[in-house]
Symmetry: C2
Subunit: 159 residues, 2 copies
């Protein structure tokens, strides 16, 4: 019974994060409604505004998403006029994602819209910082466990 509580705590933390993530999603969706951007589309644009063009793979590394998610997402962004997808001349495996003129023009508008909606979440910078540090710890731990499980699988195969 002694080790039941921590397990429950972990589960509660997991659910809190899961729930907060959904709420953030909803918040951004509604804040960005005038632009028709979803949260994943928005963070893709953020990365591109910072440094475009990028290949699908490079974008995926930053966003931790694979082509299975990004290809359709980018097609939607293209359809809505935010980006253009151009097969690279030098390496035809790659597709370069460029910003359109509209995207460049609207960047400040989008930023300002987000700025208006930002509430700083009722937290100080220090609190946010410490929370992010803790989240990094959690993520690293989860990666470690996943990695251990991968190794365990390999060992399994040898039997």
């Amino acid at each position: 019974m002694a080790d039941v509580n921590p397990v429950l705590l972990d589960e509660q933390l997991c659910f809190s994060i899961y729930s907060a993530s959904k709420k953030f999603n909803h918040f951004y969706q509604s804040a960005l409604a005038p632009f028709g951007l979803t949260y994943p589309q928005y963070i893709a644009m953020l990365v591109l505004w910072e440094k475009a063009p990028l290949t699908v793979h490079q974008l995926g590394e930053r966003l931790e998403l694979d082509s299975g998610t990004l290809t359709p997402l980018l097609k939607r962004l293209e359809k809505q006029g935010w980006v253009s997808r151009v097969r690279s001349q030098t390496d035809e495996r790659q597709v370069l994602i460029h910003l359109t003129e509209m995207a460049t023009t609207k960047r400040d508008e989008v930023y300002s819209r987000i700025g208006q909606c930002q509430t700083l979440l009722g937290m100080t910078s220090d609190e946010i910082d410490s929370m992010m540090t803790e989240l990094v710890t959690v993520k690293e731990q989860l990666d470690t466990v996943s990695h251990q499980r991968l190794i365990a699988k390999e060992v399994d195969k040898t039997n």
Copy 2:
């Protein structure tokens, strides 16, 4: 320029939460692979193990999910033999979700499996507690903002 940093911090926190949520999801999916349960299916089972039967609505309140998500999820759980969906006799609008015998039998197995995989995330109980408290703050703040936006919409309509 002075208020740019906090906005970026908020965004980074949002992304950290988004990313951690995905990692947790992956962790549970892989831990529960022997049972074929996903994370959302698992938390549905957790609630049901605690107190079944429940209506779709009651389950949705606990999980913060609506019937659009739950109906297909519960159909899959039913197909895999975890639950049965029974239209209520006393109020035919409601569908009661019951545990199957298999679900009752496998409960401890699932718990033990999760227990084995639990790593306590490299955090103390106090750290987890404080993190959850901060997440609650974040979620409340996001709810407040959403609520304000709803009110703003109402005001819009009157013009």
